[in-house]
Chain length 271, copies 2
C-alpha cells in the first residue's frame, strides 16, 4: 500500500532532499532520478527504484501507474505526497511530478565485459555534470557500453548528471578506477586506447578503428596529463578550422565516437 | 584616464548588473562578456568593448593592459573598481576579474555573405543558452560562418551563451529572422538546407554535401515543425544504436557539421 506524507516535517522529506548532496548519496548508496521519462526509461531497462515519490493529487499517468505497481510488487516503497512537499524534496520550484530513489549503479571494473560493445568512453577528471550526462546519452546513441571514470570526475549520480543523461544512465555501464588500475585492466584484454589531444597533428579520420575502441577524454580545462597521453595507442585530433583550439569535452566525444561507429558500419557493410 | 568607482551605490554598478537581463540589454543594444580569455579573443577579432571594468587592486595581466590601452585609444571607457563591487556587478561570488560591455553583434540577414564559409548553422527555437553557445564554438571549430536564429531562440547575448561560446561569439556571425524571411533569403542564392530529423531513415552519411550547407537544428524538446522539415532540401538522421531517439541539439550539430567538413576536406584533397 502506498504511504502518504502530508507534513513538511516528515523525516523522509529531509532524507530525499539530502540525497542532492554527494556525501549523503554515497553514505546511503542511492541516488535520485526525476521525471516520468527517465523513470520509465529505467523501468524498460529492468531497473526499478527502491522508492518512488509522487504527488497524490495528480491522476497518475498510465506509465506511472505501471511503475508504481511494479515497485510495490518488487517490495519497493510508494510514497504519495502533495505537490508542495514534492517541490521541497526536489528543491525546485517547478518540481517534476515523480522522483525515484535508485541503488547506485557502479560496476566494478573487473566485472565490466568489454566484448558487449564496440565503443567505450573513458573520462578523465571530467568536472561538468552536463558533460558527463551528455556523454552517457551519446554513448547510448552510438551503441557504446558505458563510461569508465578516471581520477576526480564529477559524481555520475548527481541530479544534474542524471538529468543530462536523459535516462542513458540506465543503459550505460559506469565504472570508476584510478589510472594504473584502468591500464592494467585494459591491457589484460583486447582493445585500443584512443586519446583526443591537442598535442598531435594526427587527424582523427586517419586511423582504422576496431572494436573495442576506448575513447579517452581529458579534463575540460587541462586536457589529458602527459603520461596518460603517452600510454595511449593513438593520439588524434579533430580538425580545427577557426580560432578555437578545442571542442567542448562531450562534443569531442561525440565527433570521435561517430567516426568510430561510421568505420565499423562500413566494415560491416563491406563484409 | 580610467575612472575609479569605489561605492556600491554608484549608478554604474546597477547598470552593469542590469545587463544580465535581456530586456535591458535590448534597450541599450549592448551585452556583457566576462573573463580575460573571452575579451582577448574579441580583441584579436578586432572587437573592442565600449567599456571595460576591472578590479583595480589586481596588477593587470599584460593582455589586459594591452586591452585597456586600446579601449582608451578607441574612445571607450576604462573603469577601475574593487573586487567586491566587481562581484556585485557580475552577481557571482567568484567573479571574473574583468568585464567588457560590447555593442550587439547581430548582422541583418540581407547583409550576411554566405559565400565566406562552407557551413552555416540555422537554429530553430533553440532554448538552452549552453546549446547555443556550444553551437557557436562548434561553428568556429568547423570553419562555419555563423548561426541564423529562427523563431523564439534564447538570447545569443546572454551571459551564459557568451560564456559557453568561449569567445566564438566574436568569430561567428549572428543573424535573426523569421522562417519565411529566412527561406526567401536562402532561395535567393546558392546553398542546400539540411534538416536533422527523427522523421526520416535517410542516413546523414548518404548525401554529398556541397558548400554552402545550411544545417538546420530544431528545438531541444520538439524538434522541427513539420512544414519546416518539408521546406528542407534534405532531411537526414544520425544512426541511433541504443534506446535514445535523439542527441543533444548542439551535439547533433557537431556530428552533422563534421560530416560536412570531412566531405569537403576529401573533395579538396581529391582535386
Amino acid at each position: 500500500m502506498p504511504r502518504e506524507i502530508t507534513g513538511f516535517s516528515n523525516p523522509l522529506v529531509k532524507r530525499i532532499r539530502s540525497l542532492r548532496e554527494k556525501k549523503l548519496r554515497k553514505r546511503e548508496g542511492v541516488f535520485l532520478a526525476e521525471g516520468l521519462r527517465i523513470l520509465t526509461e529505467a523501468r524498460e531497462q529492468g531497473v526499478l527504484p527502491e522508492m518512488v515519490v509522487l504527488a497524490s493529487d495528480a491522476r497518475p499517468h498510465p506509465l506511472a501507474q505501471t511503475l508504481l505497481e511494479e515497485v510495490e510488487a518488487a517490495g519497493g516503497e510508494v510514497i504519495l505526497t502533495t505537490p508542495d512537499i514534492l517541490g521541497k524534496m526536489s528543491g525546485k520550484d517547478n518540481a517534476q511530478a515523480i522522483i525515484g530513489v535508485y541503488r547506485d549503479r557502479l560496476t566494478p571494473l573487473a566485472e565490466l565485459d568489454r566484448s558487449v560493445a564496440p565503443i567505450w568512453f573513458v573520462a578523465q577528471a571530467m568536472r561538468d555534470p552536463g558533460n558527463l550526462g551528455t556523454l552517457m546519452r551519446i554513448g547510448d546513441a552510438v551503441g557504446a557500453g558505458g563510461v569508465i571514470l578516471i581520477d576526480d570526475c564529477v559524481d555520475p549520480f548527481s541530479v544534474e548528471t542524471v538529468r543530462a543523461s536523459m535516462g542513458a544512465l540506465f543503459t550505460q555501464k559506469l565504472a570508476q578506477a584510478d589510472w594504473p588500475e584502468f591500464l592494467g585492466w585494459l591491457r589484460a584484454g583486447p582493445g585500443q586506447l584512443v586519446g583526443t589531444s591537442l598535442n598531435t597533428a594526427f587527424d582523427y579520420q586517419e586511423p582504422s578503428y576496431a572494436a573495442p575502441t576506448f575513447i579517452l577524454i581529458g579534463n575540460e580545462a587541462r586536457g589529458l596529463p602527459e603520461d596518460y597521453e603517452a600510454a595511449c595507442d593513438l593520439l588524434v585530433k579533430m580538425p580545427m578550422m577557426g580560432r578555437a583550439d578545442s571542442l567542448n569535452a562531450s562534443v569531442a566525444g561525440a565527433v570521435m565516437a561517430y567516426e568510430v561507429l561510421n568505420q565499423l558500419r562500413r566494415t560491416q557493410r563491406d563484409e
